[in-house]
C-alpha cells in the first residue's frame, strides 16, 4: 500500500550511460514532482507535472527528460550520465498545484556514477 513508489532504489552505473527512474503514486493526486538531493542534503526541485502537463521546469541540463504517461506516473530519463549527477532523486506528489499543498515523497533513488 505504498503511496509513492520509486524504482530502482539504488542505481550504480558508468559515466556516459543512459538510465531511467520510474515513479508511481496511488494517492489519486493530480501533481507530481522530481527533486534532486545532493550530498549536503539540499533538496532542489527539478520538474513538476499537473495532470500530465509540465508546469515547473527548473534550470537543469537537457540531458534530463521527464515523462508523464498518465497522472499517476512520472518517469525521469537521464542521458549521458556525468559524475555530478550522483545524488538521491526523489519523486513526490500532491493533491493539486499550489505551494500550500502537502507533498508526499517516495523513498528516493540513490544514483551513483562510477
Amino acid at each position: 500500500d505504498t503511496a509513492v513508489s520509486q524504482t530502482p532504489k539504488y542505481l550504480v552505473t558508468q559515466m556516459g550511460n543512459d538510465k531511467s527512474i520510474k515513479c508511481e503514486q496511488n494517492l489519486g493526486h493530480d501533481t507530481m514532482y522530481w527533486y534532486k538531493q545532493d550530498s549536503k542534503k539540499f533538496l532542489k526541485i527539478m520538474f513538476s507535472y499537473n495532470n500530465k502537463e509540465l508546469i515547473i521546469n527548473e534550470t537543469v541540463p537537457n540531458r534530463f527528460s521527464p515523462k508523464s504517461p498518465d497522472k499517476a506516473h512520472l518517469n525521469l530519463h537521464i542521458n549521458s550520465l556525468e559524475l555530478g549527477d550522483s545524488a538521491v532523486y526523489f519523486c513526490a506528489s500532491s493533491p493539486g498545484t499550489g505551494s500550500h499543498q502537502p507533498q508526499h515523497f517516495g523513498d528516493g533513488t540513490r544514483l551513483s556514477i562510477l
Binding site: V4, Y35, K40, K41, F42, L43, K44, I45, S48, I55, I56, F90, A92, T97, G98, S99, H100, P102, Q103, H104, F105, G106, D107, G108
Partner: protein
C-alpha cells in the same frame, strides 16, 4: 536558488528535552511547511503555517512564523529517540505559488 536556511545545521539532545530549530528565508511567502526525513527515507510532511498565522500546534510540535523577520521556528517538546531525523523548512514564495523551496535541513539526534 535556496530560499530557506535552517539553523543550527545539527543538534544533539537528551531524550525528554525540547529541540528548537529555526528557518530563515529571503523573499515574501504565502506559506511555510516543515518536513521530517528519517535516514534513507523520503520527506514526510509535518505541518503547514500560512503567512497570516503566527503559531500552530500539532501534537508535540509547535511552529511559529514571524514574517517581519522572515523566520520560522519548529519546537519539538519531550523528544524521543524516534524524533532522530533531519528537519526541513520549505517556503512557498509569493512570486511563484507552484513550487516549494527547501533548505538543507537541521539534523537532530536524540540520545537515549
Amino acid at each position: 536558488s535556496q530560499q530557506g536556511e535552517e539553523d543550527p545545521q545539527a543538534l544533539s539532545i537528551q531524550e525528554g528535552e525540547n529541540a528548537t530549530m529555526n528557518c530563515s528565508y529571503k523573499t515574501s511567502i504565502n506559506n511555510l511547511q516543515w518536513y521530517r526525513q528519517n535516514s534513507g527515507r523520503g520527506l514526510v510532511h509535518l505541518i503547514l503555517i500560512r503567512s497570516n498565522e503566527r503559531e500552530k500546534h500539532s501534537g508535540r510540535l509547535r511552529v511559529t512564523l514571524d514574517t517581519s523577520k522572515k523566520s520560522s521556528s519548529l519546537l519539538i517538546t519531550a523528544s524521543r529517540a524516534a524524533d532522530t531525523a533531519s528537519y526541513f523548512c520549505a517556503t512557498g514564495p509569493s512570486s511563484n505559488d507552484y513550487k516549494l523551496s527547501f533548505g538543507a535541513g537541521t539534523t537532530v539526534t536524540v540520545r537515549a
